[in-house]
């Protein structure tokens, strides 16, 4: 039986690990290296790293009094975290070309997430799926919600697309994406629970796995999403930073309730 995944998302801003709220408020939580060390110790199902730097990424973490040298660029960062990373790894953010994808996959990523590309150059999604296989291409879909209407936004939620997540997801699937990473912008960092309605509507519309993200703040939120939707995976970022052993404790809780958790 294929287990449903509980995925950890790590947001990077200028090389720092970041707390994110509604995609706009960011607080730097420290260096990713020790967090990744903990994730490996916890044997997490999967790690998704998303670089949310908007300007030229600086990788500004280097300081002489810190144990590890700060990486100078994305490649250095990937090397630093992937050398001991024996868990599935997905990289996203700032990916615009085939070279960007290749660089990540050759250096430790099993998959990449594409967001702006779905808007700017859909052909690239198709080409990437042909070259790297659909299983390596994850369509990252962010949406906002106004009453009953959900709308896709791209480019760090700054560009409205005027389409529903269902339409955008179907299009991504047709282009060759092998997975959907669906994130509720309004719930980001709010710990108010997953948007199960939108999540289930997307799950129903496509035949590829859907990863749900945005809003998790309590173990009950994860459970509710797993019970009320058919998502392949639930994901969260912030909440795994806040308490000791947050991930293994969550897993213990979910396993006590369900048999489809590893």
């Amino acid at each position: 039986m294929l287990k449903r995944r509980v995925i950890v998302v790590l947001y990077l801003l200028d090389g720092f690990m970041t707390r994110s709220e509604v995609f706009r408020i960011h607080q730097l939580l420290g260096h990713p290296i020790h967090h990744v060390e903990r994730l490996v110790e916890w044997d997490v199902d999967e790690l998704i790293v998303i670089d949310i730097s908007t300007d030229t990424p600086k990788f500004d973490t280097d300081r002489d009094d810190y144990r590890y040298k700060g990486p100078k660029d994305l490649l250095g960062f990937i090397h630093q975290i992937s050398s001991n990373c024996r868990i599935p790894l997905t990289f996203g953010g700032r990916i615009r070309t085939m070279e960007d994808i290749q660089l990540r996959i050759q250096n430790g990523a099993d998959k990449v997430t594409l967001n702006a590309v779905l808007d700017e150059s859909p052909d690239l999604v198709r080409e990437a799926a042909e070259k790297f296989g659909s299983q390596a291409i994850v369509a990252s879909i962010d949406f906002t919600r106004d009453g009953d209407t959900a709308e896709v936004v791209t480019h760090h939620a700054t560009k409205r697309q005027g389409v529903t997540p269902v339409e955008w997801a179907k299009r991504a699937e047709k282009l060759g994406a092998g997975e959907i990473f669906l994130n509720a912008v309004d719930r980001d960092g709010k710990a108010s629970g997953f948007d199960v309605d939108v999540i289930q509507s997307v799950v129903d519309a496509v035949s590829i796995p859907v990863i749900a993200c945005g809003g998790a703040g309590h173990p009950r939120h994860f459970l509710a999403c797993l019970e009320q939707t058919n998502v392949a995976a639930v994901a969260a970022g912030n909440t795994f930073h806040f308490t000791e052993n947050a991930y293994p404790n969550l897993k213990t809780f979910l396993k006590s309730k369900r048999d489809d958790i590893r």
Partner: protein, 382 residues
Amino acid sequence: MSKLELPKITWCKKCVYPSPSAIPMHFDEDGVCSGCKVGTEKDEIDWDERLEWMLELVEPYRRSTGPECVIGVSGGKDSYWQTHFVIEKLGLRPLLITYNGNNYLDVGWRNLMRMREVFNCDHHIFQPSVDVLIRLNRQAFRRMGDMNWHAHAGIATIPMKFAVEQNIPLVIWGEHGFKELGGMHSHNDLVEWTKRHRLDQLQRGYDWRDMLDDDEDPIQEKELSWLEYPDDEAIKRVGLRGIYLDMYSRWNVKDQVALIKEKYGWEEATEPFERTYRTISNLDDRYENGAHDYLKWIKFGYGRATDHVTKDIRAGLMTREEGIELVRKYDHVKSSDIYYWLNYVDRSEEWFDTIADTFRSPKVWAQDTDGSWHKMNIWDEQ
């Protein structure tokens, strides 16, 4: 002579914190730092409700006998406030635990000793061998430009270690320093203590094991067992958890200090410090306002005065202009405790300065042809 090109520094528009800083900090589009922004959350929080949450949280930890929680105390203003709060507001019986890194000022030590007299609770003090401490001081200074690494590590390790050994699952910390100063977290996250934060931020990535392979100041594994943090199995067995009081109770230094002075006879510093105007902070460690802090100036171009001004601006106790004058007066001062420390570790001032200079951040400092160091200053900003 051509003008020296200085690295660009920006300062928070509201407080006086600089961008490269010693703590992770983020500036928004308006140039306001995350610390200021998180600070404004305090006005929106229903603190009565938070106290109820905290009472609910601690309920399962009550017991009929023995200590119900651990508080790591230095004898400082926060230690007194935490102990007061835990006993009076939460109705818990704490066990006080102290790491003594051999850096106490007399007034700080008096405050510490008074705790078991004014609070009805037991107090345990852990004091490592001074010989090991001196080697740790020297080694950490050479390797990370910080003689006080042992203090950060000791404070972050000893209370948790004792809690596990005594089978007391609840540890109550005071202020989440990185949240308070840099805005690392939101108050809505109800952040708790983690091993990761300890290693990454409080100890800057270095754990005790990293101190073992040094030739110049060798330290044996058997000498550092006191710095070994409990493993996950022990944490799980005990159910160890560390919570921060300032997620549940509004932190108000001015009122807190007034209360502990009146009620418990807590003393502030009798003599002014050389590197800051505040006389209520860091009495437990002579270098925290001195040599250690001077190194922050060397590394990042600012010091304790900037920290204190920032907190006081946010608390509405001074204007930014007043704060800038204090920063100008204090941040650069090379304090005399450096000589006390050099005597302690048996080294020369030249040794100190040469090593210290290797830690100057290129994001802050530029060196002129005559060897002098320069940086942008907040009073020069337009």
